[in-house]
Homo-oligomer: 179 residues x 2
């Protein structure tokens, strides 16, 4: 941020009164511009024991497989955001289940959350951001071609939990890029 | 947002190519400015069966009681943010426990999360944003003087769960301001 989004003048980075960290401050109009972590929401869509994955048609990680997920938009609930992303990326309708995995990625100031989800029918197709969408039996999950650590970790939790028959909430902190 | 934070020129609200909702677009430098929901994190600090609450010294809801909570900052994990807020508002050190309540507040584009937490010792004191901090036995929780719905709801879940001896994750959607 170089300019004030409220008045267009140059901002400076300084610690405001009664604060403890630098913010972008506008001396012209008095605005203080706070920046906050972003939420990414997605789900693990399941149909008859198979998992729906999308092959990314966009960067980053073009050509790698992902669970449907993306940045939460204004005016949405977490579940609505995950449902929208599943439609946009995989053209699939899901019944959103329980919150399943929550990741703090402090190095990129993001929080990723994934829900369990059941597909309402067998329909799916690549949305604009996907080059392929397919249902995978567990044995065929392309572990070496996964897009993001939070996606592969959520899938690993799910595969393990399927064997146990219990699906507790998983919390994890990921501190470095690792793919 | 009226001006581009990257180049200082006027932005306009329009739907970018391959998008489906209006964004603030800068025709001068090509920036697209996305806006995203904000995360508020806090905890339920417990010491010997009592709950630590803070009386707010700032607006909104000045003079009402709250759990320590606030906007997550860049570079933090969810638990770190809750720990920092507990120190800032109540000068208490806590061991962060499990993620306990998650609220989607779509009407204000916020997600609030609260952890269970154990105070490490009996020390607490008002931070700059609090006019009072105190430990409450369950019977004395000031229900009619609570600051925010997500705070009172988290406390209600906790009081109920204490009787059951089980503390599952609570997910809730709150669609309107209600206090």
């Amino acid at each position: 941020m170089k300019y004030c989004s409220n008045c267009g003048q140059l901002v400076r980075l300084a610690i405001p009164p009664n604060d403890d960290r630098p913010r972008h401050i506008c001396d012209a109009c008095g605005s203080i511009h706070y920046q906050n972590p972003k939420l990414v929401t997605g789900c693990i869509p399941v149909w008859e024991g198979k998992i729906l994955l999308c092959k990314r048609a966009i960067e980053p990680r073009l050509g790698y497989w992902t669970l449907p997920a993306g940045f939460m938009e204004l005016g949405e609930t977490l579940a609505q955001a995950a449902e929208r992303e599943t439609w946009e990326e995989a053209q699939a309708k899901v019944n959103m289940g329980k919150l399943y995995s929550v990741f703090s990625l402090s190095h990129i100031s993001q929080v990723h959350v994934f829900f369990l989800a059941e597909m309402r029918d067998a329909h799916y197709a690549p949305g604009p951001e996907s080059m392929d969408v397919d249902l995978f039996i567990l044995e065929n999950i392309p572990w070496k071609e996964m897009s993001f650590p939070t996606v592969s970790q959520s899938l690993r939790y799910f595969v393990d939990d399927l064997q146990r028959g219990k699906f507790p909430l998983h919390m994890q902190e990921i501190h470095e890029r690792s793919w």
